[in-house]
Symmetry: C2
């Protein structure tokens, strides 16, 4: 068996090492265009920021070590230029020497990754405009920061863009973020990104966030870059970083006549075979099945890339495998805040036309009575009929990663919100709560589906106007009410509500709310049983403020 | 509907509030013998230790608030003395006044909890010997510490015992721990507790740990307590805390003729009804079904107690419910270390005669290249045939809670180790790894079951003697080998192994090992394919040191 692998990082290197473990006799050659294999892409921003001091730490392993330990033939600075499927060869150029040659294969794995998008805007190729994919990119950006750059412009507020902002600020670089959409971190639903926008705004002297704004062109001036924005604004800085997404490296595949999807991802079956069964493809370059929508998508993440590489090797060496699809579990840290998601977002469900219900809660990450409890906002999406979990998003501090991971497994297991009610998690005051946030989300969602706890979310509430306008009941204390409330609300504290039922309208919809939803729920129960038509505003005033951050004082 | 509830803390108060949400009209009376309801039992040690400064924080709510918000009739200092099932009444004594009365019920929930064990040893009732269950207990212990106690003796190294040790040390109290078994934290398998014993030993000046030792009697001397130990040793301190377990408060139930199990837990069905369908029981007082062994057990934990209380109320108010059993997910923090478990331990599987396989791994809690990665030891138990997860234990620092919670959900979902291979968790360098510890455990276990990765564990290895004695191959570097190795091992580094196959015995079993198992696995693959009979020592030298901590230097 002669196995060639194109691309030597997450997907490629994982396939190569797994292949060797499965077969001592296979001839395994791995081609990598760049100077390094097996590097920690995900660590690049943190070396620029100084968190990861030693550059060598980013090299998880080296060609020499892979040869020594795994008997792999690793060829760096070697670009595969073409695949000849009839001859079963690839055509390779040694970038250092210019030498070109063919190499034959029995099986071929494509793991070329995805390249940062560089839209064809005027001036896009000016020096000073950078993307970040590998160590040479990182070195170039770091050199500019090390040389004393005082400011930078990051275009795109996705995962990599935000990580760059954090790390540039760590280095004392004033950073302007330009994002086309009206929110940071577009994979999340907009309201869930409010805490991130706030933490950026809190870096008052360091970060400028420009939403609903885009770059239209670039010029050079004073050895810096001027970015022209759609609004007419002009920004100038010595360093511009593009973080607006990636596109699959599919040129080889297309030229070889392999199928690709509409957004460019190489098409593979559940065994990760392309339309040519001797050619596999893995990682950022491929189209995967979204486990929620069951439709093709592209999810450039390291975990899936690594596991796909392993599975491709498995299949080549005769194992039964089935890639289950990707659910898009992802996370980012930003100045001490954490945002994470798994499964579908509300907007992706809307795009796919999948019916859903949802709840918001705002639990503490561990028992409130133990010092240091940090609040998080947790949004849970599920099917309206049987409560199967479709997705979750959480934003907060500590403990966000844990809850999203727990729900990620629940999604994999096709669990329902009724299962979340019963989840038995580890509890001791510094680690969680007797009713963990995951249980709470389950309770609130299950109560909704059982009809015990009718809820309305902020967006739906705000769409009601005129005759549909409900009576809005704030059941918090007078102090809480006076510190800020939803316009038009009447305040009757939950603790005296039973005595004031005669002040509430019969025959008109009521929406109750409190700070996080819990007292609003109790009010809803009281009023329902007293014959009122009432719903609770899911997640309460805290969720309202996610939609209307400007109203927070 | 008139609902009486006996016990006003985790199970009882949760049932009461849930019942009110389900019915505004029910008459709900909750009896509590002590002065407080709804208090944070789990926080008691941390108020003694000073971590939770404000005693009021331990009162999650109060009778007055429960009355105001939930219209509950909460009667503290009210002990229920008897249940008359034919009259459907309970007999109550007001402890403050001595007044006694009967109260009738339609439905009754028993949530009396479990009382700390106080074995009938000579002198057990001496003042100075304390148990910790409620705020008055805590106040008494704290007063002794506040008064300047220099030393204390904690009998029992379970969850509460260890938490007391940590908190006493925080207060500068020299503490001796006496534990009957040969390990701390008996619910865990012994080797997994080694890091805890080490962290206790590291408090050289503060903690003395006496294992396989027990108290046989108590005397008073110099206004202190002298503890006589089985070994003949005598310890003296002004404060003795008993933390040797709890027993269900079943007297009322027994007197009323309700069924109890062999260890005293009140018997309930899946709807939490006792043998009298109008009487429910929840929490520490009951016998539950162990979800792994499917046999009755007692698991005194707050999460299950809370959820059972909620379910009992549900059933009373007409909902379909089914308590799924308890899997015993629990956690403890000890001087910065964390130990947690879910599902069955190895010894509990042995006790139940359930066949199992297991693996050990020693992953870092997040990407190794990002600063601050903390190692953990993770033990995964699963069925030999289909790989269904039976249990997991982890000991380390950060990230232990997350992995045990993830596996806890996997157990609930009846997932297999093959599912763990595919778990898609949130990865960014400060939160995890592209191949998370949970994936890694899945890989190692799945490789075992697929026959690709034969493994042997330390205990089994050490049982092999004489002709069965395998050739022991250490595939680490010479430096690692010289720094400490398993007696009898031959050192051939993994990186030169392929060139030294002729030095290995054919026709004799080989056991390979490295530091954590990963290189040993590769060696196993190389040797297997070269026709050797070889197994990898699961978890490598680090696991060996869990069994033989004295050999660590
Ligand atoms: C800055 C940054 C931060 C990230 N952070 C995270 C994170 O926190 N969490 C997360 O899950 N993911 C993160 N990712 C994404 C993650 O790194 C990728 O999903 C993963 O590396 C994809 O693996 P891959 O093998 O498909 O592609 P890559 O890792 O990109 O490897 C592909 C390799 O193939 C080589 N190649 C391409 N074409 C050829 C050719 N024709 N001939 C030879 N070689 C070729 C390329 O040079 C490249 O090195 C991050 C990515 C970046 C850039
Ligand atoms: C110090 C300590 C630390 C703990 N730490 C943890 C932890 O970290 N994690 C965890 O999961 N669990 C922990 N627990 C266990 C947890 O607190 C219990 O599992 C939980 O409280 C059980 O709830 P319950 O309602 O069954 O009983 P309890 O909470 O004990 O409440 C029962 C109440 O019933 C009252 N009562 C009993 N009989 C009568 C009667 N006849 N009449 C009137 N009242 C009566 C008692 O006074 C008692 O207050 C800890 C417990 C203690 C004591
Ligand atoms: C590191 C890399 C070369 C893969 O190498 P690898 O040998 O598969 O190493 P890993 O560290 O992933 O270990 C996984 C293997 O070791 C085994 N293993 C791990 N711990 C083990 C233990 N304690 N005992 C026994 N086996 C163990 C696993 O079973 C698995 O083997 P398998 O795939 O045959 O089941 C590749 O993932 C890579 O290049 N990574 C860096 C790039 C990258 O991922 N970038 C994106 C993220 S920043
Ligand atoms: C606090 C206590 C009285 C229970 O009160 P509770 O009203 O059930 O309150 P919780 O805080 O547990 O909240 C859970 C309820 O609020 C609802 N809820 C929580 N957050 C919500 C939100 N954001 N929006 C709407 N509803 C919410 C849940 O659905 C659940 O209601 P349900 O049971 O009807 O589904 C009881 O658990 C107790 O006494 N605890 C302290 C003792 C203890 O547990 N000790 C051991 C651990 S230290």
């Amino acid at each position: 068996m002669k196995l060639l692998i194109i691309g030597g990082v997450a997907g490629g290197a994982s396939a190569a090492t797994r292949a060797r473990r499965l077969s001592e006799t296979a001839e395994i050659v791995m081609f990598e265009r760049g100077p390094d294999v097996s590097f920690a892409n995900c660590g690049l921003p943190y070396h620029i920021g100084g968190e990861i001091k030693d550059r060598n730490k980013l090299l998880v392993t080296t060609p020499a070590k892979l040869h020594e330990r795994f008997n792999l033939d690793v060829r760096v600075r070697s670009s595969v230029l073409a695949i000849d499927r009839t001859q079963k060869t690839v055509h390779v150029r040694e970038l250092n020497t210019g030498r070109e040659y063919d190499e034959s294969y029995d099986k071929l794995i494509l793991a070329p990754g995805a390249a940062p998008l560089r839209p064809s805007l005027p001036g896009i190729d000016l020096p000073g405009i950078h993307t970040l994919r590998n160590l040479p990119d990182m070195d170039r950006i770091k050199a500019i920061v090390d040389a004393g750059a005082k400011s930078a412009i990051v275009i795109g507020a996705g995962f990599i863009g935000l990580e760059m902002v954090e790390n540039l600020i760590h280095r004392g670089v004033q950073t302007t973020v330009v994002e086309l959409q009206d929110q940071v971190l577009p994979p999340l639903d907009r309201e869930m990104t409010t805490p991130l926008a706030e933490v950026l705004a809190a870096k008052a002297k360091g970060v400028t966030l420009l939403l609903s704004e885009s770059a239209e062109g670039f010029e050079s001036a004073d050895e810096e870059i001027v970015v022209q924005l759609k609004s007419g604004k002009r920004l100038q800085a010595p360093l511009v970083i593009l973080g607006i997404g990636v596109k699959p490296e599919n040129q080889l595949a297309i030229a070889a006549g392999l199928e690709v999807g509409p957004r460019g991802g190489i098409r593979v079956n559940e065994q990760l075979q392309t339309s040519d069964p001797d050619i596999y493809a893995v990682g950022d370059a491929i189209e995967v099945r979204d486990v929620i929508s069951d439709s093709p998508t592209q999810v450039p993440l390291a975990g899936p890339a690594n596991r796909q590489g392993r599975l491709a090797a498995d299949h080549i060496f005769g194992k039964q495998v089935r890639y289950r699809g990707t659910q898009g579990t992802a996370i980012v840290g930003l100045f001490g805040k954490t945002a994470a998601l798994t499964g579908a977002s509300e907007k992706s469900l809307q795009r796919s036309g999948i019916p859903y219900r949802m709840v918001y809660i705002h639990p503490a990450h561990h028992a409130g009575y133990y010092p240091g409890a940090q609040a998080m906002a947790l949004k849970l999406l599920f099917t309206p009929d049987d409560g199967r979990i479709l997705g979750a998003q959480a934003v907060g501090g500590e403990g966000v990663d844990k809850r999203i991971d727990v729900i990620a497994v629940a999604i994999q297991a096709k669990m329902t919100v009724f299962d979340l009610e019963e989840v038995e998690l580890a509890y001791s005051p510094q680690f969680g709560s007797a009713k963990d946030p995951v249980n709470m989300a389950g309770f609130v969602a299950a109560n909704l589906l059982r009809g015990d706890h009718p809820q309305i979310d902020v967006a739906a509430y705000e769409k009601l106007a005129g005759d549909d306008q409900p009576f809005l009941l704030d059941v918090r204390t007078a102090d809480e009410f006076n510190a800020g409330h939803i316009p038009g609300a009447t305040n009757i504290s939950i603790d005296v509500l039973r005595a004031h039922l005669d002040e509430l309208p019969r025959g008109r919809d009521i929406v109750a709310y409190c700070q996080v939803g819990q007292r609003g729920y109790l009010a809803t129960r009281i009023l329902l049983q007293a014959g009122f038509r009432v719903r609770n505003l899911s997640g309460g005033y805290k969720t309202y403020l996610l939609w209307h951050p400007a109203e927070a004082k």
